[in-house]
């Protein structure tokens, strides 16, 4: 071996130490880099919200840290959420953004989940996910009455077990006795939309906020009709579309709709910190997160991108998540039977 090797090594390590050592200045976040890690792919809905928030979050945090948004995809965001729980440091420098549907997955014993959703420090969410079922005029199912009377199962598009379109369709079938066949395996709601337009499917159920934007033309021309909404009170722009819950005849049916779809809407798109993040940093980030959601510059860009903003606080979210864990075993069994 070469004699000068140790010297070179020392230099290298010194170099690394230099690059790693951040200045110890007064506000904690000064000179720091704060990451928002999105558990889903770049360019999608989750990613777009995170990137938009990331553009404005820094200036609301004392010390004005650099904000970086990156993606860690895999297993419908379970991969990232496990990392957030077990691997990422609770130093207040990492915010995770994942699909809240996997919280229900934890209760139902979905495989691969290695986190306890109750222990995250929630910052809240920028928007709720209000589910509406849109069906094509060509399918003949133009109202819930026609749906109830349909002879053959109505084909709704699905993505994968546990995803919103799958859950919503299956819950409608189980709770309301509607003839439904969820055809799962489409690569996202855009593929479902295309299949519905080509006549392969009757339609699908997913967030109204996304449906009204991406299917605007179809909705305007009446080629696509919002047939039923799975929400607590009618959405302002579709006041006359009936509520699913009103067709539920038993308490069990009502509960299935509430737990399986409706109540999850508020924690569908959570921003959360690893468990054990110091309380003062959680507070700083929570306040900054919600200040961002009110920031006029942020709102202008959200408006341009047609992204709805309807904030949920961290405390509200924590409560809603805790509530789901109070379900009794009988209800969990019924949910499992309906969804899987």
């Amino acid at each position: 071996m070469n004699k000068r090797l140790p010297a070179a090594l020392t230099t290298l390590i010194a170099l690394a130490a230099f690059t790693d050592g951040a200045a110890q200045s007064q506000p904690y976040y000064e000179g720091k880099t704060l990451r928002i890690v999105v558990g889903l792919g770049a360019g999608g809905g989750f990613d777009t919200y995170a990137r938009l928030i990331g553009r404005h979050l820094g200036k609301h945090i004392p010390g004005n840290p650099t904000i970086v948004v990156d993606n860690m995809t895999g297993a419908g965001s379970i991969l990232m959420t496990n990392h957030l729980y077990k691997v990422m440091k609770p130093d207040g420098l990492t915010i995770g953004h994942f699909n809240g549907a996997i919280i229900l997955g934890q209760i139902l014993g979905q495989k691969g989940i290695d986190f306890d959703a109750r222990r995250f420090e929630y910052l809240g969410a920028a928007v709720k996910e209000d589910v509406v079922c849109g069906l094509t005029k060509a399918s003949g199912i133009t109202s819930i009455q026609r749906w109830q009377a349909a002879k053959a199962p109505v084909k709704l598009g699905g993505v994968a077990p546990g995803a919103t379109p799958d859950n919503s369709g299956r819950i409608l079938g189980a709770a309301l006795g509607l003839p439904v066949q969820v055809v799962s395996g489409y690569k996202g709601t855009s593929a479902i939309r295309l299949a519905a337009e080509s006549g392969e499917l009757a339609g699908g159920c997913w967030s109204w906020e996304s449906m009204r934007a991406t299917w605007r033309k179809g909705l305007e021309t009446g080629e696509v009709i919002p047939v039923v909404q799975i929400v607590a009170k009618p959405l302002p722009d579709i006041p006359n579309v009936p509520l699913a819950i009103n067709f539920a005849k038993t308490d069990d049916a009502r509960n299935l709709i509430l737990v399986g779809v409706q109540n999850s809407s508020a924690f569908a798109r959570p921003f959360a910190l690893p468990p054990g993040t110091p309380g003062d940093r959680v507070r700083i980030l929570h306040d900054a997160f919600h200040a961002t959601l009110k920031d006029p510059a942020f709102l202008a860009e959200a408006k341009k991108a047609r992204l709805a903003i309807d904030p949920i606080t961290g405390a509200e979210m924590k409560q809603l998540v805790a509530d789901v864990f109070k379900l009794d075993a009988a209800m969990i069994a019924k949910l499992k039977a309906a969804l899987y």
């Binding site: 071996m1 090797l5 777009t48 341009k304 047609r306």
Partner: protein, 667 residues
């Protein structure tokens, strides 16, 4: 209507020719240029990193920026593929198969000229196809449903015959292995885990980026390390010129146009991106050119076909994205995000003139961006080409460390998943063995990229239509095309054999222990896979069974043929290296280089990318290759600066800290 279209076409050009849009396009081109050349770091990764910058741009500017970047990566990616045998982009892997042998023969200039010129033709064709498709695209795409997509995937699989090389049997087994690798992950219907070994990172399947990089780059690095020469072994000056390659493009104009069409039209289908079309185009080049034994050894047609197709794919790809908001690949999914950020809703309104509330001019500005970006890129490339080609004369020992570092960096940066590095190593070794034993790697890749599409659409077809989908008119047409595609090579081979009967007999068959061992491994692994698949249940198990059992039978047949010593191998095919290096030396150097490649990964794991990568670059240069101090230090410093300034500071890739530092850190 026509006048309106023409008006929008013209105003699309004016949208691009504003100072801001043009400036941003040039910035995008410059970025795409570099990203395309760097192996590993791919177009989609960079597009995602650039998304935040477009919030404040106007729509025409944002798309000039992003599309300018996306449009050129396939062109400059070809450069890396040809010069180093390392795919610059996953979509340019096929250019390696014949382009890199050309570089080794000292014809790098000609290969580059051919790749660039065919890329330009392909890009223009794709843009043209996009412009022409705009009025008719909606009914065209809506006529196709899941059954037709399934049949298209099957039709694509018949191209394996052309990719099979010496032995159709090996080609079929390799394609079958690719299809089996494609089943790794959650099955798309029931969510059952298949071959995931309880590893979450395998849930979404094996990423195409680590596979392509490992599969093609690692064998090339081993080869370079064993030979200890520059990439170019011979120096031809007469044939090596760039202009010769340009002329080749026009000599084979028909092929280039047909491959451009393959790229553009197959690219329309969701799920079939450049990673598929390049191989279809390559297969078409093999099938339609005289002398198929020239391929894989430096046939210029093998460069022209994929060169055109991977560029024309972008135009085709944009069609469903613009007209329906349905992304046909990763790049398009990110562009769709750009549409959202800009407040644009892809769909019918993109095809309606501005005067009626649509965005047709903007859509046409995409066409212009692709055209301009490619012309600029190719022009710039031509200025530097002869200089670039000289890289092939640099000695391999100086190229290996930076290329290895780039491969690992790129594999990580795609998904920020460290596990992908293990996949690079695994598929690298698999690719190396396959190359040495004359198993066709392209056939495996084709199976891998078409597998998920085929399975997904097969189930969607059956769920939606029962068995009746088989009777749909387009399905019948595609079944006929598939049969024709499958039978044509067989018929052609038969008639050629008849014509050539009586010519010299095949070289004496040789039995090789390594070869038999590899086939045996395939049989055993497939057997275990089949046994495991019994737990999958019907829905998740059907596809692995339908593929696995026939492939197992074919692999057994191959094993029997080999064990009986009946395999026909090219005479030169059994040694580890070229003549001039003794078998012992070659074996020692091979083992050494594999050790370095694995050690590099281990160092990154232990010390992190910056320190581990830098340290290994240093050790490889100083200890491994005994380079002189000045050049060692300069290259090492360059590598460290590159990782730190470009990846850590510039791109802010979240590198994990080395394990060692985690252990040392107080709890």
């Amino acid at each position: 209507m026509l006048a309106e279209m023409a008006g929008a076409f013209a105003s699309g050009l004016t949208l691009v020719f504003t100072p801001a849009a043009l400036g941003l396009m040039l910035a995008g081109i410059a970025l795409g240029f570099v990203v395309g050349i760097l192996p590993g770091l791919g177009g989609p990764t960079t597009l995602a990193l650039m998304l935040p910058f477009i919030f404040t741009m106007e729509p025409a500017e944002a798309f000039a920026f992003l599309l300018g970047m996306a449009a050129v990566t396939a062109t400059t990616g070809d450069i890396t593929s040809i010069l180093f045998g390392v795919p610059g982009e996953p979509t340019t892997a096929s250019t390696i198969v014949d382009g890199h042998p050309m570089a080794k023969q000292g014809q790098a200039g000609r290969a580059l000229g051919a790749a660039l010129m065919s890329s330009l033709v392909g890009a223009l064709f794709g843009a043209f196809a996009l412009a022409l498709a705009i009025p008719v695209v909606r009914p065209l795409v809506l006529a196709f449903g899941s059954p037709e997509y399934f049949m298209l995937a099957v039709l694509g699989l018949t191209f394996v015959a052309a990719l099979a090389g010496d032995s159709l049997l090996k080609g079929l087994v390799a394609a079958g292995l690719g299809l089996m690798f494609a089943t790794v992950g959650l099955d798309p219907i029931s969510g059952t885990q298949r071959y995931t070994f309880d590893q979450l990172f395998l849930w979404d399947g094996i990423g195409l980026v680590p596979i392509t990089i490992g599969f093609f780059a690692i064998p090339e690095i081993i080869d370079l390390a064993v030979r200890r020469t520059a990439i170019a072994r011979e120096h031809f000056t007469r044939l090596g010129g760039v202009m010769e390659g340009v002329k080749d493009t026009f000599r084979h104009a028909g092929l280039v146009i047909r491959c451009s069409a393959i790229g553009a039209y197959v690219g329309i289908i969701p799920g079939m991106g450049g990673s598929v079309t390049q191989w279809l185009a390559y297969a078409h080049a093999v099938q339609s050119s005289p002398g198929r034994e020239r391929f894989g050894k430096g046939a210029v047609e093998g460069v022209l076909g994929p060169g055109a197709a991977n560029n024309s794919t972008l135009g085709g790809h944009l069609i469903p994205t613009i007209a329906f908001g349905v992304p046909s690949g990763v790049t398009m999914a990110i562009l769709l995000g750009a549409f959202i950020i800009q407040g644009l809703v892809p769909g019918p309104s993109m095809l309606i003139p501005e005067s009626r509330g649509g965005h047709l001019s903007l859509t046409f500005s995409f066409v212009w961006t692709i055209v301009i970006a490619n012309i600029v890129t190719v022009a710039v490339c031509f200025i530097f080409l002869n200089q670039l080609a000289k890289v092939t004369r640099v000695r391999g020992s100086l190229l290996i460390p930076p290329v290895l570092l780039l491969i690992y960096l790129g594999a990580f940066a795609e998904k920020n998943a460290f596990e992908d590095l293990y996949l690079v190593l695994f598929f690298g070794l698999l690719g190396w063995v396959m190359e040495k034993l004359h198993w066709p790697r392209p056939a495996l890749i084709l199976g891998l990229v078409l597998g998920p599409l085929a399975e997904n659409r097969l189930f969607l077809s059956t769920d939606n239509y029962g068995i009746e989908w088989l009777a749909r008119p387009w399905v019948l047409v595609l079944i006929a095309a598939t049969l024709a595609g499958a039978l044509y090579p067989w018929w052609k081979a038969r008639s050629q054999k008849r014509a050539a009967s009586g010519v010299a007999a095949e070289p004496a068959a040789a039995r090789s222990a390594g070869s038999i061992l590899f086939t045996l491994t395939i049989v055993v692994v497939l057997g275990i896979a089949m046994w495991q698949s019994l737990d999958f249940g019907f829905r998740a198990g059907l596809f692995p069974w339908a593929i696995g059992f026939p492939v197992l039978a074919l692999a057994l047949l191959q094993l029997v043929i080999q064990a009986w010593g009946k395999e026909k191998l090219p005479a030169s095919g059994l040694t580890l290296s070229d003549p001039g290096i003794s078998a012992g030396v070659a074996a020692r150097r091979t083992a050494g280089s594999i050790g370095w490649i694995a050690g590099f990964l281990a160092a990154i794991w232990l010390l992190g990318f910056l320190i581990g990568g830098t340290l290994c670059t240093f050790l490889l240069l100083k200890v491994g290759s005994r380079e002189r101090w000045p050049i060692t230090l300069a290259l090492t410093a360059g590598a460290a600066a590159f990782v730190y300034f470009v990846f850590e500071l510039g791109l802010r890739v979240p590198f994990p800290p080395g394990r060692l530092f985690e252990w040392l850190e107080p709890a």
